[in-house]
Subunit: 300 residues, 2 copies
């Protein structure tokens, strides 16, 4: 598509009134309350595969940003898109997927920028949300329990399926069309001490919460919730659990609650915070060695 | 640099309090008044040259976004950076330039994202500003005069110099280190009918303002302000003026004022808006043919 064609197609997406029909260089927003801002870039060959369906890439680009908003208990206000123009079919399919995701998550477009370039597609999205209270990842306290929504590891298995392994579509969908936990985030924000989403892997993200809070964290590998689909596909043993907790793209919410407080949404207790530093992984109540790689990190 | 090293270096840049020391996934902002949001991506080989100094690339990435804020009369609040990690020297020099520009324009970091990828560097920035009134580009009225700040065409000549042509550093600097007209934008916003920055070329951007306002625009080529440096370098004739008005990267402010109203900052009257549609270019009072290309457009 040309830039003009792409912008004309963007105008058919849900537009925020502040976007001024995409006829201006900026969006102008008159907000009430606090704004939560987040930005993620995704690169072909790194965050998505060259043969991933473009509609799924669009869905995921929006979903991963909204997952950051969910972790702050924020309601989406709108997004700005940075798009690298590709071939017409890819561009059109991308827009169709983006349209579906924007309508599904009730999140309109505020503006953005398009560029024409060759090479690996690099796409960027800035998401803006509104929140009453935005829990930090640094607020966990010694004695707090560590909880997680949903199930862990499905998207990691889905990535292997996208790369050619045989496996069920349920898992592939969890990789390609993650669903940000927006309602859960809003319900949890007022009661948690700390919250973040699981994007790079349960172990690495829990470690980050512990480091930010100046605490140690222990995680019970055998308590980590796995889906029936994952257990059916990979069995339930230490290897499959270790693969699950070191895989990225779950987009579940990870949060710290004081002892004795239960979560306000379905969730599983997987560990606890303590004085000190570091990560302790247990299985059947006994410490086990940490894996070489606790999750996804750029240029580790 | 690794992602961790790059983030550690980012923490030494001016940080907005809402950035929470870059320790969280989102920035949380409690704004007063209206917010102006803009996002630009720049790609190596398209918007900057592979051998452009990385510090100048950083400066320009910030400046082009702040220029969009300037055109809305907005004061910068902060920015979110989307960065593709390159080699260590490039990353470090980029950060040094970004630091200079952020301090020069008093615009701290709110957050962002880094990715590791090969291929053409793709960098993205979202800028947020605060404005009392944010003039649209669509508000020009028939009879309004068209004005522009500063001088036109310096950056276009600077690009040719960056590509190997002999020429003065003044022009090269205008291409590599543009200065967004923030103070001028704030002074003009309350009195203009329409305003935008000149990023793709005076002719194409004036045409865009006319189209958005549902009007025709005429521009007097001989009234367009050229710098002494440009005149010294390229002489002052119809060819050099045509090159100036079709070159991009000026980042001057283009605005519509009612007849009889003078600008509140130094500026030059270059044309006027009329009923109808289209662009009329004159020289010495007589219409002249339009150039084949009126400015920079992706995949025109």
């Amino acid at each position: 598509m040309t830039e003009a064609e792409f912008i004309a197609a963007l105008k058919r997406l849900p537009l925020h009134p502040a976007a001024r029909d995409l006829g201006d260089d900026t969006a102008v927003l008159a907000p009430a309350g606090s704004l939560v801002l987040t930005k993620d870039m995704i690169v072909e060959g790194v965050h998505f595969l060259p043969d991933d369906p473009p509609g799924d890439v669009a869905w995921k680009l929006l979903a991963v940003n909204l997952s950051d908003l969910a972790a702050k208990g924020a309601e989406p206000v709108g997004v700005l898109l940075g798009y690298m123009l590709g071939d017409n079919g890819w561009d059109a399919a991308f827009l169709t997927g983006l349209d579906s995701a924007m309508r599904r998550f009730d999140c309109p477009l505020l503006g953005g920028d398009t560029v024409a370039a060759t090479g690996a597609r690099t796409l960027s999205l800035t998401a803006i949300g509104r929140a009453e209270s935005a829990p930090a990842r640094s607020g966990a306290q010694a004695g707090d329990a560590l909880w997680v929504t949903g199930t862990i590891g499905d998207a990691g298995a889905g990535l292997a399926i996208a790369q050619g392994e045989a496996g069920p579509d349920t898992l592939l969908d969890r990789y390609r069309r993650p669903v940000p936990r927006l309602a859960e985030g809003r319900a949890l924000a007022p009661i948690v001490h700390a919250m973040m989403d699981v994007s790079d892997g349960l172990l690495i993200d829990a470690s980050r919460m512990a480091v930010a809070s100046g605490l140690a964290v222990d995680i019970a590998l055998d308590a980590v919730p796995l889906s029936d689909a994952l257990i059916g596909h990979r069995k339930d043993n230490r290897d499959s659990r270790m693969a699950a907790v070191t895989a990225g793209d779950d987009y579940e919410l990870l949060f710290a609650l004081p002892p004795g407080t239960g979560p306000s949404v379905p969730a599983t207790r997987v560990g606890s915070f303590n004085h000190g530093s570091g990560l302790l992984l247990t299985d059947g109540g006994a410490p086990i060695p940490l894996p070489d790689r606790t999750g996804f990190e750029h240029r580790r």
